[in-house]
């Protein structure tokens, strides 16, 4: 039988009291070489190539801490060498070549080789292998390795294939190690070539990383990095305010404004590659161009940014945000309620006889999503549009969108960390994409030829023309580009990342 002696009981009480009455615990975390991050999502799986986590943009900062991508990406979204030091096409663009970085080792000390790159691409491209974007990788085949250079055939020209190598699932995993330990073994003890090595992990609680002393990119700035998984925004605020964490992100803008001026804390809030938009699904009243354009002109996006987002957002007129490759500032959809009312009048609608439809939105999935839709519905009401708000969760949105059964209007946010128009306008508006809502032949005819356009200048110009056409037709209602609030202790220096990925190895330093 287990008996607790008085001495043992005293020791336990002492342990508890020491923990409770030790405020220096908070200071020590900031002052030492440990970086505590109150992170907004949980890490469900370590495999950056397979399953839902692999295409979750928010998790990429963690993956990039442990693994390296084929090609790296700078905070301004431009590209830089990663595990590939060079890459390109042959003259007729039927083959690609990739130069593999030398003298890189995996976390277990084994050498990184071109075989790892080939194996990773083949694994990612295996249909039915669980990679959600396998179609990207499956187009590369017939690999040949010659020293540090890999060449391969492409089934068809894809202008963004190298951009995907810096994007979702574009990671290199260790062939020999993975084949030795298997999927289960890899989940239990993952290794990469990245700046940090996995030290300890408890799902829904934390991930502790330690610096990789042999990292090819130089010594990481912190010996230890702890990602605390804190999905509750209020708890993240408490973490940073109490000093328990050194840095956090995605807090409510009101809290950001309150805390960024507090002694000992600093804040950065910058645009990221994530936009808010309202999908329009064709059919019913949405087939009326006047109704669609009235919806667009009635919305005062600047007021939404100013009043709801406290100024932390950028109003947009197309699906290309500033900084994206096909952003065209000359395309403007103005806020013009008089024009909206006139357009509706031409179709027989007025405030007395409004056009009616349903708009779907999430609530609390993105900052101010529901409030934004409430404001928009109010603006619409003033010109003769009566929209009924239906709240749904994000899983329902995906299923409805995939089966083309969204309500006539549906709020959604759309990320595009590589800034290429194929990943914004292309996939959101081309009817063959399972993620599009507006399906029409006229638009498909304009988008179709751009997928394989080999002349880059012509390709980007083509996408700009498509964006202009979409704005003129009112096929979608782009709202705003999100800004990401980051709060951190004043003894840190943080470089905001255009993709929104808070990478501790390269973007957070001691001040």
């Amino acid at each position: 039988m287990f008996n607790v002696t008085r001495r043992q009981a005293l020791a336990a009480s002492g342990g508890l009291l020491t923990t409770l009455l030790a405020p220096q615990r908070f200071a020590a975390a900031a002052a030492g070489s440990t970086l505590n991050i109150a992170y907004n999502v949980n890490l469900p799986s370590f495999d950056p190539e397979i399953g839902p986590s692999s295409v979750n943009p928010t998790i990429q900062a963690i993956y990039r801490s442990v693994f390296d991508q084929y090609i790296g990406q700078k905070p301004n979204l431009s590209f830089e060498p990663g595990l590939l030091t060079g890459w390109g096409w042959n003259n007729d663009k039927s083959k690609i070549w990739m130069d593999v970085r030398q003298n890189v080792v995996w976390h277990d000390g084994s050498p990184f080789t071109p075989e790892d790159v080939v194996w990773s691409i083949q694994r990612e491209g295996k249909q039915g292998g669980g990679n959600p974007v396998s179609f990207i990788w499956a187009g590369i085949d017939n690999f040949k390795i010659d020293g540090k250079r890999i060449t391969a055939d492409v089934k068809q020209y894809d202008p963004v294939i190298f951009k995907w190598m810096a994007f979702l699932t574009g990671y290199v995993l260790p062939k020999a190690y993975y084949e030795k330990v298997g999927a289960d073994g890899f989940e239990k003890k993952p290794i990469g070539t990245g700046p940090y090595m996995v030290d300890a992990y408890e799902g829904n609680a934390y991930l502790r990383l330690k610096a990789n002393p042999k990292y090819w990119g130089g010594k990481p700035p912190f010996e230890t990095v702890v990602f605390k998984f804190v999905p509750d925004a209020t708890s993240r605020v408490a973490e940073i305010e109490s000093g328990s964490s050194d840095i956090t992100l995605e807090v409510p803008y009101e809290e950001y404004d309150r805390l960024r001026v507090k002694a000992g804390l600093k804040g950065e809030c910058h645009p990221v590659s994530d936009i808010a938009q309202i999908f329009i699904t064709n059919g019913g009243v949405m087939d009326d161009k006047n109704v669609r354009l009235a919806m667009c002109h009635a919305v005062d996006k600047v007021a939404i940014v100013k009043r709801l987002m406290r100024g932390y957002g950028t109003a947009i007129s197309t699906l290309e945000a500033p900084g994206y490759a096909a952003f065209d500032p000359s395309i403007k959809v103005t806020h013009d309620p008089a024009l909206a009312a006139k357009l509706l009048g031409a179709s027989g609608y007025s405030k007395a006889k409004p056009v009616k439809f349903t708009i779907q939105t999430t609530r609390g999935y993105k900052p101010k999503d529901y409030e934004m839709i409430q404001a928009i519905v109010g603006m619409w009401r003033n010109v003769g549009i009566e929209a009924n708000i239906e709240i749904y969760d994000i899983a329902k949105h995906f299923e409805l969108r995939m089966s083309h059964k969204l309500a006539p209007a549906a709020f959604y946010n759309w990320g595009n960390a590589i800034g290429d128009p194929t990943c914004s306008t292309g996939f959101a508006m081309f009817s063959k994409s399972p993620h599009s809502a507006w399906h029409s032949d006229d638009l498909d005819a304009k988008i179709g030829p751009l997928w394989g356009e080999k002349d880059e200048a012509k390709r980007i110009a083509g996408w700009k023309a498509v964006d202009r056409y979409i704005a003129e037709q009112g096929y979608i209602l782009p709202l705003l580009q999100y800004w990401q609030p980051i709060l951190y202790k004043s003894d840190l220096k943080v470089i905001p990342n255009g993709s929104g990925a808070l990478q501790p190895a390269t973007l957070v330093k001691k001040a």
Binding site: F2, V4, A12, S13, G15, L16, T19, L20, L21, P23, A29, T34, N36, P44, S45, D47, I50, G51, P52, S53, S54, V55, G128, G129, G130, P132, V133, S134, F135, I136, A183, E187, A200, E202, G203, N204, A205, Y206, R208, T224, K228, F229, V230, P231, D232, T234, S235, A238, E239, E241, G243, S244, F398, E399, M402, A428, K432, S433, P434, H435
Partner: protein, 335 residues
Amino acid sequence: MLLAIVLNRMAMALVTLAGVAVVVFVLLRVVPGDPVSMMISPGATPADIAALKAHYGLDAPLLTQFGIWVKGIVTGDFGTSITLHRSVTEILADRLPATLELAALALVVAVALGGGVAVAGTLMSRTPGEAVIDGLNSIMLAVPDFIWAMALVLLFVVAIPVLPLTGRIDPVLAVGFRTNFYLTESILTGRFAVAGNILSHMVMPTVALALPLAAVITRLLKQSLKEAMVQDYVLLARIKGFRELRLVLQEALRNAVGPTLALTGVQFTFLIGGTVIVERIFSYPGIGNLAIDAVVNRDFPLIQGLVLLFGLIFILINIGVDLTVATLNPRLRHA
């Protein structure tokens, strides 16, 4: 007789669990939102989508999928989580201990607090002190656990930062646990400093979960005690010169505790349900926190496993309560 009760309840439990299994399986597939639509990329073709569905076994007819799942359950295999890429059985075995320790500690605190306040209230009967206790108890009863959680965070993390907010243990502590019962194991192995650290992480979620249950216990037990205190056997003891505290604890409590015990059992199941939100707020790695992610990601195998586990826990608690009440009350035992 007790054995008969146990066997009867176990048989009913199996039927209930079978019903739960069917309902959760069908509901998940009827409600919009499936895991594949959550992860397909914008450029995926119908063939890509079909391949992903096949990869996760979602392409077979519903009856076939159900058959495969049930066959797995019989052998202890609840399938593989879509998001965590691990066996559901393994995941549940990893996470359940955290929730059990939290719930058990919350129950102990609730019983001690609720029982103590009920006894104090009985002793202060018809004094201003009783009104104060009733008033405070009404507040505890009216405020849900997650509001208590937020209030505790404001008080002990923001205003007076003495308690850690997130996790189950300080991440910088290198600890090699053999089981996932961290608190129990650290106490049993004499690692009391570690136990103290774990307890410090459990204080706020425990109190948040315990307060509403303590209020329920106080209200019912106090009422039962008041009724018992006017019974003849208490009167006789009072005439014999017993002090009030002894009257309450020795004479009235044993007879008054039955209904409270039964209700506490029922309320304990609600407490375990409450861990879902409370674990989220405190980033506590139990099955409640896991359940939210599973639902958000439409991780069918994990949701199914979790619902069955919750169902099993509720059934076992109810059986336990019934047996305890029957043991304490001979009339029920021989009914």
